[in-house]
Amino acid sequence: MVQQLTTDTILGRLSESIPVIASQSPTPHRLYIEVPKDRVKEACRILFEDLQGRYTITVGTDRRPVNGKFEVLHFFSFDRDNIRMAVRVFLDPDDLTLESITPVIPGAGWAEREIQDLVGIRVIGHPDPRPLALPDGFPEGLYPLRKDYPYNYQPPLDEGKTFPFKEPPPDATVVTVGPFFPVLEEPSQWRLFVDGEIVVGCDYRGFYNHRAIEKLGDSVLTYNQIVFLAERICGICGCVHSTSYCQAVEEAAGIEVPLRARVIRSLILELERVHSHLLWLGLACHIVGFDYGFMQSWRIREPVMWLAEYLTGSRKHFSINLVGGVRRDIVPDQFDRILSVADDVDRQTNELVKAIQDDTALIARLKGVGIFTPEEVRLSGAVGPTARGSGVAIDARRDHPYAAYDLLQFEVVTHDGCDTLARTLVRIGEIFESLKMIRQCVNLLKDIPVGDLLGEIPEEIPPLKDGMHAVEAPRGEVFHYVLTGYENRPYRWRVRAPSYQNIQSVPMMFKEGTYLADVPITLGSVDPCFSCTERMEVVDQGRSQSYTLEEKDLLRLSRSKYRALKATERK
């Protein structure tokens, strides 16, 4: 029996070896501790290794206008005990350096590179301190997330500067995929180091489409305007961002959300999960060349979109949330249609899954591809179906209940396969769980009297209060941190989408002997957004030639493998 952790025991364990300067626990599920600058790495090591906490994100804040210092927060989550905590450290503007925690926690790599780029805090001892978020040639000494940087200032770029890519291992050929990536929706560039057909290493360059959303949030928009901006962070699972943001503000300001609004939030979130997983299933089939699955699962998905339009007024950007509650009620007249769509989707998905699960060629394409072990899940901080496909049962809905999930009965679907097939099965299982929850939400709504949908909001939200909240998005846990500020807007707003951690885990999935043709589906198994590639470039270093591979060539490569497998089946 492992000892149950509380905020007090965590604090006690840390105080044994580290002089904790200040600690604060606004609720039994939240803990903020301040440690001296030179002990941050040690504190994070204790939380990560000794107490088995899950690393969430690192946030850097320019607090100079308030107390003359910079602040860095390392967030950890204790999923079994429903505790989220932050290790806080204040830095003097004259000495903006901080010891890196990435050697201990590999999943912190990107977050630390980001504070280096955007806030200008130099991270010492980082294994890969290259720039991450800023464009190539961004002037030195300018840090966009500092408070003295105007939100609309665009400095001239030094055109001559290029990104310091990794050197490939000797004898390896570089295959550049991107900057418009065939699998992920974001523009991202992967340089795959291949030896023949086998991938021997990779390098990533992303953030081509960094939109400065966080800067807009803490310098231009107001609390209730950010809700709609947050929703537009993602084109597929927008509602999770707005819900997560609203909950973070509600936590910071102490706003109580009415029960009916909470149930409606849960219902809409589950509806979103159903459509997102069906979309992913279709695209995964498409990527491996099984277009039948793509057509059929998108056909099943369409009524879910129409239902969303009927309930919220829009197919995709539901705009249902506001700080304090929701904007639209779900009335009894709408219950029948919700239930009938849920039944239809349930029946049809079941039929489809039964039909394709014996398709041995399809299964062979997924099985054993992109192996991701539970230990790697922990190191990289991966979340969602990516983690649950490796048997790591973390789910914010169960572990840190929000909205109405404490009233709903559901199972956390996990699978021990650790491969792409396991991640597929987890997502399929979650479709059925979500449909179950949608029915439960309708039953709950029948019993809850119609009333206010927005909680009581104080005249002015108190400044400099912390709020953090996470929502289980279709891809994993979406984490939002809000530090409330002045003039009706947050002082700092940090968004951590699940893909932020999951994409970092992809290099771990390219195990020895991964075939180039398996790369699209391995990446696809992590993040369900596949966008169109315009072109990609293959550089054959040995012969110093380069030729381009169009989207269709890459797909052909991926699909011919499926056909070859099918041919062997027939023999």
Binding site: L221, N224, Q225, I226, V227, F228, L229, R232, Y292, M295, Q296, R299, E302, W306, E309, Y310, G313, S314, H317, S319, R327, R328, E351, L352, K354, A355, I356, Q357, D358, D359, T360, A361, E569
Partner: protein, 152 residues
């Protein structure tokens, strides 16, 4: 493998063709759809509440003189969240079911509204007089001036 393929064919057969005939057949939106923004300029009192909440900042207000307030709505930038409809105290803004808003001219999605306002004797800022009769008695007159023609 063969059984699986047969089952797949049966599902496809049963579903048939599901492609809609749109745009050759109309496809009305669901009730409550947040589509085109329409403004009832008779009801609008120029309070600026919509400009205050608009997340995309597509509603902008300029007071060109103590008597004239201009509200410009750049609806090509609209994200159809419907906040303006929600906060309008005079029921002047509505989002209707129209969604075919694609155009080659941004001006098609631009609404400019000039409001004749009263002036507060104490602060000098614009306000709308409560009744149409009061509006006639407000000091001043409807100006016929070029209002800095730049609109889009």
């Amino acid at each position: 493998m063969i059984a699986s393929k047969i089952r797949q064919i049966l599902i496809g057969k049963r579903a048939g063709s599901v492609t809609l005939k749109y745009p050759f057949e109309p496809r009305p939106s669901e009730p409550g759809y947040r589509g085109r923004v329409t403004v009832d300029t008779d009801k609008c009192v120029g309070c600026g509440g919509c400009a205050d909440v608009c997340p995309a900042r597509c509603i902008l207000i300029t007071d060109v003189s103590p008597f004239i307030r201009i509200i410009r709505r750049y609806l090509d930038r609209c994200i159809h969240c419907g906040r303006c409809e929600e906060v309008c105290a005079y029921d002047a803004l509505h989002l209707d079911g129209e969604y075919e808003l694609a155009t080659t001219d941004r001006k098609d999605l631009f609404i400019e509204q000039k409001l004749f306002m009263g002036t507060c004797n104490r602060c000098g800022r614009c306000y709308i007089p409560p009744t149409p009769l009061d509006r006639l008695m407000v000091v001043g007159f409807r100006k016929d001036e070029d209002l800095d023609g730049e609109t889009i």
